[in-house]
Symmetry: C2
Subunit: 231 residues, 2 copies
């Protein structure tokens, strides 16, 4: 039993947050309720669309919503934060200013990647915003990987509509286009593909397993959270 | 978009809470994140075992843990509470004293039951504590149903170990014994079986569909929560 309470800043999207809570539970070695990890999930899907980037102010401003959630989790007694939304990590530095440790999803994914493709070319899938802000590329290239990403046509035709489909509860529809985008990266030399948007593993799990390793960033973040809670 | 924030007093068990969050999302008509329901999940699996009943005081006392969660959810701005744990409804009256409306899981299940078996004999599965406190029997018998439950031997051999298996992350192991217990109730005349412990639907979903209607109390409570949030 741990007395560390995990804060989950979620709702981005809500299904990915629910899946994070399920995986946090299923990946925890426990034989009864009381051995599982205490957690508070702040699931606020009203946070404005992260993929529009960082407007300075106005109704589309993301940061105040994230800060509100973080402060709520702090008030609830949480000792560290996990954000099961890759794009929200664009506000990571602003959020750490609130004083709570935040488990970085890219570091969590890198730990999983090391086990299946310790170096070389890897594919990164994510929202257009995550790819444009080079969330994965800068951190992974620095650690000895070479990151490749879908091109603009593949993003528009395959990846972006699939993420929207998961958010609209049409999870099964997302499988075929996401699998095609991942296979195109593998065909270009990726030894593994990072599913760097938490909606993507939900879509990829709705169909047959792919022929190459993929990194489920929900699972990676859940494992980092378990290590923190048990640490 | 709704500004009503749902409070989910959960962690009892944590996998059932995660499933509640997933079903809350999937049962909400929404085409983008911002149309989903804001919610805060207080998932504290440290709450002492509800099935031991109501000790007056000491470390096994359940009520202070539930009150702590409820107050945390109130502080977070939640306007109503859903508890995805049937047995915890044994403390329902104590908890309503905190002043927040709590959606009652038996009323939610009754609404679902009405659609498939509007009267007559129905089976109730749950923890021994839920059955002993007559959580379902008193409320449903009063509304024109006749409730039957597994006998003591079936509880000890089939139901109780299956609930424990789900809490220990052995979900697949729970299917066969739970299906057997449900079929015994159907053989005794139940037109439908209420899965009146939130671990039970998780186990029942791990195998083939049963031949008679079952009421998934996680889904019933999620539908009640959606009606509240949209109301």
């Amino acid at each position: 039993m741990t007395d560390r309470i995990l804060g989950v800043l979620g709702g981005m999207g809500p299904l990915a947050s629910a899946q994070f809570m399920a995986r946090l539970t299923l990946l925890t070695p426990a034989v009864r309720d009381q051995e599982h990890i205490p957690a508070v999930l702040w699931s606020d899907p009203r946070v404005p669309d992260r993929s529009r980037g960082r407007p300075a102010s106005g109704p589309d401003e993301v940061l105040p919503w994230l800060q509100r959630g973080l402060r709520g989790l702090k008030a609830a007694g949480c000792g560290a934060i996990a954000m099961p939304c890759n794009t929200a990590h664009g506000w990571y530095d602003d959020l750490t200013a609130e004083g709570l440790p935040i488990l970085h999803i890219v570091d969590a994914a890198a730990a999983a990647l090391r086990a299946v493709a310790p170096s070389g070319t890897v594919g990164i899938m994510g929202t257009a915003a995550t790819l444009a802000m080079r969330l994965y590329q800068d951190r992974l290239d620095h650690q000895g990987w070479h990151c490749i990403t879908p091109d603009a046509e593949e993003m528009a035709r395959l990846v972006t509509p699939s993420i929207a489909a998961v958010k609209a509860n049409r999870v099964v529809d997302a499988y075929a286009p996401l699998a095609e985008a991942a296979r195109l990266l593998a065909a270009r030399g990726a030894k593994a593909v990072v599913l760097g948007c938490t909606e993507i593993p939900l879509g990829i799990q709705a169909g047959p397993k792919l022929e190459f390793p993929v990194i489920d960033t929900i699972d990676s973040l859940a494992l980092a959270a378990i290590a923190w809670a048990r640490g």
